[in-house]
Symmetry: C2
């Protein structure tokens, strides 16, 4: 590996200098037999999980990487996930990394990739960020085949009596395309369909994506697709994909996509990258199939959940772990001095100046996240993701606080140093996963929707109460009538605050959470509680990142990051 400083180079430049091993070599190291490997190019492969050796009941431990409430720039969860995986592998622990697939749309807007950064990246970063093995395209196709069948059903006589005004499912596209948020389709007269209002969401917001990521296999995927609600009849009865008979063709479109994708980190650690649902209107972590496949192959699996721990970790426990069995043995809370200062009251333009007191004040936020993790019966491990401007005095505020509170804590510089920068964190994690765990979800499913939301608000967010809009109250009634009370809740809330007000930093208390709407996702198997404005179709900025992207004379991507 080159020793050029990460600070001098873009992620893409660092990634292009890395020497990759053929994917068959990585697979062999991961214990994947050749017959189960379906290569996609030289450095990517799908894994046919039916052809993996049976491991019986022996499954690897799960380390979930989550974070304190983030700044808008993000705290580097993916980078820490990759770096921690590499550092664990460097100790001789048989390790796999499990990550979400990046969404194409935001790449052309402002966001970086979801493949880590610096010397802690999964590779080949340009291919993973572009079309990868086509999973998101398959999900887009399955979603849009369904909607073509729905509108064709309306056009061909509407035997099911679907109310065109009450179709809740939308088409999707893996692109940031503001102009498709609110559209009218079916114009042009009787041969051109039935006019109605609708819109496109971005692919990662599709319920098909959530179903894809929660399914335990192809049969479960098919059954969940059939249970998705696409809308309501004129007499308000839910209409499912199964009523239309579309689940077979949708499953056929997804049959290759459900196989998890194997790649490698820059240090050569095997990584499964598979699925990537939104972390607001969905649960925000990679597929159950990938996590369970990694557990069958490795002793430790390092995986990630979106946003801060109030959202990502809570949903991991109450939705993904509840149904898949893959509960974490430790939760890493990524913290940064920058985020601590922000939660300590420092304005954005002063975050680069040393401010020990602000770091100390910001610990209120981190502390509540650590407390929350313990409520699931799991020990938290704090990972301070080091930035070049952090001072020793600032860093030691955090390590001293952790020591005083009996919380495992380590400073990690995996971005700048790769696996060596994560050695202390790896040791902290290895200690934490040896401690006997006592995992339980936060709430029982029979609490009722309001009871479950109130439990999350009080126990995790630190709030006092919940208020429902008139629309949300109507939906509560409808959910009850349709027998959906026993589904878990999926909170759609700002990631910047424990509350539903993004400006309320630190560890706010006593607030009332406003539930604006409830959206049943009957295939994914949860009820989304919408607080505040949730964007399911991002827009492009004035100067989109796409404008600097190109290929060079060797056919290589440039300007990607």
């Amino acid at each position: 590996m080159t020793t050029t400083s990460a600070a001098d180079m873009s992620d893409l430049a660092i990634a292009s200098r890395a020497v990759l091993e053929p994917i068959a070599v990585v697979a062999r190291r991961a214990g994947i037999p050749e017959e189960a490997l379906e290569p996609y190019g030289r450095y990517k492969a799908k894994v046919d999980t039916d052809l993996l050796p049976s491991t019986g009941t022996k499954l690897g431990k799960v380390v979930l990487v989550s974070a304190m409430s983030p700044t808008p720039a993000g705290e580097g969860k993916s980078t820490v996930t990759v770096g921690l995986g590499d550092a664990l592998a460097a100790t001789g622990t048989k390790t796999m990394i499990a990550l979400r697939e990046p969404s194409l749309g935001p790449i052309f807007g402002m966001k970086g990739g979801a493949t880590g950064g610096g010397y802690s990246q999964v590779l080949p970063m340009d291919e993973i960020n572009m079309h990868f093995t086509g999973d998101f395209h398959a999900i887009t196709s399955a979603n849009n085949l369904l909607m073509a069948l729905v509108d064709n059903h309306l056009h061909q006589g509407n035997a099911l009596g679907i109310d065109p005004r009450r179709i809740t499912f939308r088409r999707v596209i893996d692109m940031n395309d503001r102009a498709l948020r609110n559209i009218v389709i079916g114009l042009g007269g009787p041969t051109e369909g039935v006019p109605r209002e609708t819109g496109f969401d971005i692919t990662v917001a599709s319920e098909v994506m959530a179903v894809f990521c929660l399914a335990t296999g192809l049969a479960d995927l098919r059954a969940r697709l059939a249970k998705m609600t696409i809308g309501y009849t004129y007499d308000k009865t839910p209409v499912t994909v199964g009523d239309l008979g579309a689940e077979g063709a949708m499953t056929m479109l997804l049959k290759e996509a459900v196989k998890p994708n194997l790649v490698q980190s820059m240090a050569g650690t095997p990584a499964l990258i598979h699925g990537g649902p939104f972390a607001n209107i969905a649960h925000g972590c990679n597929s159950v199939i990938a996590t369970n496949t990694a557990r069958s192959l490795a002793d430790v699996v390092v995986t990630e959940a979106g946003f801060g721990a109030d959202l990502g970790a809570e949903k991991f426990m109450d939705i993904k772990a509840r149904f898949s069995g893959a509960h974490p043995d430790a939760v890493v809370l990524v913290a940064t001095v920058r985020a601590l200062k922000m939660h300590g009251g420092v304005a954005k333009d002063a975050l680069k100046t040393e401010n020990v007191q602000a770091v100390r004040d910001g610990l209120a936020n981190l502390s509540r996240h650590a407390r929350n993790i313990r409520k699931f019966g799991i020990q938290p491990v704090v990972a301070i993701n080091k930035f070049t401007l952090d001072t020793d005095a600032e860093l030691s505020v955090v390590t001293s606080w952790a020591a005083a509170n009996g919380i495992e804590c380590a400073v990690a510089d995996v971005w700048g140093q790769g696996p060596a920068g994560g050695a202390d964190l790896a040791q902290a994690v290895l200690r934490a996963i040896e401690a006997p765990g006592d995992f339980a979800p936060l709430y029982d499913l029979d609490l009722g929707i309001e009871g479950k939301i109130l439990t999350v608000v009080r126990e995790i967010y630190g709030g006092a109460d919940v208020e429902y809009s008139a629309a949300a109250k109507r939906m509560l009634k409808q959910i009850h009538e349709n027998g959906w009370d026993n589904l878990p809740v999926c909170m759609a809330k700002t990631q910047y605050s424990f509350s539903d007000d993004p400006t309320l930093l630190g560890a706010p208390e006593g607030f009332t959470l406003q539930v604006r709407d409830l959206i049943p996702k009957t295939g994914a198997g949860f009820i989304v509680a919408v607080t505040g404005a949730i964007m399911t179709m991002p827009g492009l900025p004035k100067a989109p990142a796409a404008m600097r992207m190109d290929v060079d004379e060797h056919g290589q991507a440039v300007g990607l990051f």
Copy 2:
């Protein structure tokens, strides 16, 4: 190979019984070095053409498979293309097949796949028909990134002064989705984009697809994308992709897709399947990159053009061959007894009854196609694609006519018998390509748009004159003002008749062709002349084929065909 009769089994059932060779073995036989092979699963691979050995000026001969004017059921061009390739390979000739990729949308409607049939198929048929290596998804993404950038440009201040009412480029989706034909986007107020009328086309109708298939390499692709016209300013100046600066990011999305895809036929013949533009508003044949790659590897390349020879072959000569150098050394005209009877005046429900006189009368259609091929300096070869109900008396009408007119002709039963059923056809083709050729396009580019259209109508269609609608006349003026007169024309006409009236069968004469509209495709580099109604977004039928599709308990596709 199993000897079960093809008539007893579906194409999918026959395909699933075939034993495939690993794609690396197929590549080796094709002369593709291992370093140029990028496997996609076990039986598909992309070929990195930059890593192929240089062949200098020695390039294989091209056999173009076209057809007489077809019946709505199609005459089996793809099946004959695959079977002829296999039969040529069986003679010891180093052969490659080059085909179009199937479009996903029509598969869920009514159409079969584009992978041949019976014992002349390319494999794995379910994967080729589903997502294959993701090329069409990449083209969809590139097209829709462009449109997101266009609408974002309007929203962010419209510095180029694009008239929202004059944006001619549309979004695409690889789905038959009638309700997206005519839509209004950008609704919802000032934060949600600029409202305007537009619609979605199916992906194969995208100009990006046409550009993809005509480009000689990545640099040419990028240059052609930049030249595409997306609409006009308020003062009617064309706005190109280059004006927006979107060609770099679009090319990045297409950089892997431009590598041609290697698969095998059921008999093990190497096949490149790459690109697939519409045959009406585009030129309807696989990519120039695939054809030229195949020519660099094999002594004979068998390839296909869409619809009948009046459309597919004419465009192959006047558009693809003119710019790529890959002109045919022989053109196979696929004829069927069924189609001949239809052109001989037999009604659809009587086509199964022997009718020697109708076959004789229908020869007028086939005869004109054969004459047309000679106008390009190329010898035609008639392939009678045998159906089980054809009688010897009917077949001998065609063979006698061909013998009397000095036209190579053979009966082929590659559907039922595989390569053995194409042995005679292979010998006829080998004789034809040995004859010295004298290829020239039909018209010179400096004839003017009207002159070029009139030449095609008189020389190929047998018509007398051309009439232009008021809209087409306005476009003629605009084309002249924009300096696009020297582009070739791409005729969008019904495939069922030489004329623009699908009910005018046989070999009509003296008719006047109505040009309804002219559509400049400045990136692809042709002017589409629209005659009659051209559907760029198909709809689904009352009982879509999707309803019978599913996966079985082993994860295998069922109900695909």
